[in-house]
Subunit: 400 residues, 2 copies
């Protein structure tokens, strides 16, 4: 296997407190302090929030996630390439990670058919027949030009039997090798994205300087998870992810797997727990050595009226807020909490105003990102256990 | 009739070019340069945009409009009073104008019944039976505490016969007197809004320092319009509005009425053309001596994918923008045009992403407000006729 001589990213752990690590992930689009939460920008937009807000002091998101599956179907990779790659297309010049689409096609259920070669499915956009494989996923992600690319994997259901999970793991392992090979070939060829001068000042060949992360599968079976990790690490990646969790299994199962896998993951590479989770989940996973997270909760729940606060979740719909002039979270310093009351947010939500979703999304992302900032500080100052205890306790004091 | 000794607002024309006037409307919430465009914030939010953006250099909206009808039904004036009035409820400390609800209940058509006393209608929110009269509209607007209050009027259809329009005018005139009387009583009583210290630092009795504008009606009949103006001016108001236009009549009819009425309106008070219009409408009305405007076009059309530009309207849906990396308007300096391409905006719109509406709303409001800034500059420098000619010519060069 020919790997690029040097990885386009580097990772360094700068402080450790128990298993919790504070690190720095260096990319050519800037430094990313870990543990880090990545807002989800599925279709090339973090729903309901402007990029200026993502960059603002309130949030200061250093990396966001976009989705290969969604962007491949619409607007299509050729369109994005013609516009100079995903960064230029979106107008975002900080770091981007693209998920491979493996999880999304798996989620289609009856609409997809998995074979050795890849996954055939019908587009949710226009019903057309599509085929996604490790090679296609790598080609699409090279076209998008994200800074971090994910291998194309197969996700086993949370309740998969040992045999089912083993078969899935084997397939994922073969797909990981094919992903690595295709990715390396594409990195050597570094297809020119045809970038023309817009807002970015980076070298043109985005697709020649990407990093690739492997994904550990194995459902709820700890022996298979260990094996998956070994085989993934053997192939060699710039970072390692735990996939197939938070897909309907019991929370205790998730923690068993993370407890088993995280400490064994290569310590000199970033560890990424995909699709997780609530603020308390993030902190619990950090305590087990995880460095990176993505989750739709702050944005999706924001749009349906749920706020995350230091005193637990708050539903703006509740009648008790009708005349409540307090902010969502009295200890939050975000621009929404500085300006707007629960009463006003409830009114916006009840009248179906867009601004409800916009403001709740902003607050929720501010809360998640600020929580991670505080996590990092506490690890660096050796106070993480105290922070963890107090944070979790605070959640149950409930603002409601 | 007892009027407050001094008006809480003052208006001064500082430059005139033909009939076009540049003026300054002074309110205790700051100076408003006229001609001015007021973004519409029907339910206490300008749809799809944060207040921080309305205050930003791109837009710098000095006054926005909210609606008595909508806010009275939901969340209700008692809730808003309990939250310290509309400014505090929304978190907006610049000027606010509230429409009286007359136009909105009139728009309900078959759902409302108009009598001498007022208008009975069914709430579009919960179907409950409601009654709005000059007295109720004044009470509600005192509770909301807007800086400028509108009289409760009756709007005649654009195609009303002379007899119908005369009957409507007579009713509007009687309602104007009742509005004035009730308003003055409320100003004298200055019901305490119960404001408690939040972000605003104004005296507590918001409802004791409001201004009241009268509304000229009369449908398409110029003699009735003149008569309505005379009778409205006789009662005496802090400003005068032309109502009942842009309600389905021919554009030529609208200009006939404005041509007739605007030059006769009291020159030392602001003249407000309600519900108008496109950028070219604003400029044409300014040329006829109008000072104030409100319209839902920039926000509503933004949400459905239509951009207003210096080269005319642009529909982001169009397939021709698929790979177009130009901004919506190449001569626009707003944050959306500085950052995002037509290709990206088209993608957002086609995928139903909230960000499409957010960004188009921002651009459209920036374009409207910047156009009014340029209108004011051109009047002050005596270049308004040239600006008007070039602006209107530019619109037909079409970006499409």
């Amino acid at each position: 296997m020919v790997k690029p001589a040097t990885s386009p990213i580097s990772f360094e752990v700068i402080a450790q407190d128990g298993q919790a690590r504070a690190g720095i992930l260096s990319t050519r689009r800037g430094l990313i302090e870990t543990p880090v939460f990545m807002p989800v920008g599925t279709a090339g937009t973090v729903k309901g929030i402007r990029f200026e807000e993502l960059e603002s002091k309130d949030l200061d998101a250093r990396i966001i996630l976009a989705n290969t599956y969604h962007l491949w179907l619409r607007p299509g990779v050729e369109t994005i390439k013609a516009c100079g790659g995903l960064h230029r297309f979106m107008g975002w010049d900080r770091a981007l990670l693209t998920d491979s689409g493996g999880f999304q096609v798996w989620s289609l259920g009856a609409l997809r058919k998995i074979s050795e070669e890849g996954t055939e499915f019908r587009s949710h956009v226009d019903g057309s027949r599509r085929f996604l494989s490790p090679e296609v996923a790598m080609e699409v992600q090279a076209g998008l030009g994200a800074d971090i690319v994910m291998v194309f994997d197969e996700c086993a259901p949370g309740k998969a039997t040992h045999d089912e999970a083993r078969a899935s793991l084997e397939l994922t392992s073969r797909w990981a090798k094919r992903s690595r090979e295709k990715f390396d070939q594409l990195q050597r060829e570094a297809p020119d994205m045809g970038c023309i001068g817009m807002t970015l000042e980076l070298p043109e060949k985005l697709s020649g300087a990407q990093a690739l992360f492997g994904i550990v599968q194995g459902a709820a079976h700890r022996d298979l998870r260990r094996e998956s990790l070994e085989r993934t690490a053997e192939i060699g990646f710039d970072g390692y992810a735990i996939g197939g969790l938070s897909v309907g299994e019991e929370k205790s199962v998730m923690w068993e797997v993370v407890d088993e896998v995280a400490p064994l993951m290569p310590p000199d590479h970033p560890r990424y727990l995909m699709g997780v989770g609530t603020p308390e989940d993030l902190i619990e996973a950090v305590a087990r050595g995880v460095d990176m997270f993505d989750c739709v909760l702050p944005t999706r729940n924001g749009r349906t009226g749920q706020a995350f606060t230091s005193r637990g979740k708050l539903n703006v719909k509740n009648a008790q807020w009708i005349e409540d002039q307090r902010p969502l979270d009295e200890s939050c310093r975000c621009s929404v909490c500085q300006r707007h009351s629960r009463a006003y947010l409830r009114h916006l939500h009840q009248t179906g105003e867009m601004l409800a979703g916009i403001l709740l999304t902003h607050h929720n992302l501010a809360f998640f990102l600020d929580t991670m900032r505080r996590v990092r500080q506490s690890i660096r100052s050796g106070d993480f256990p105290k922070f963890r205890r107090e944070f979790i306790e605070g959640l149950s004091t409930s603002g409601e």
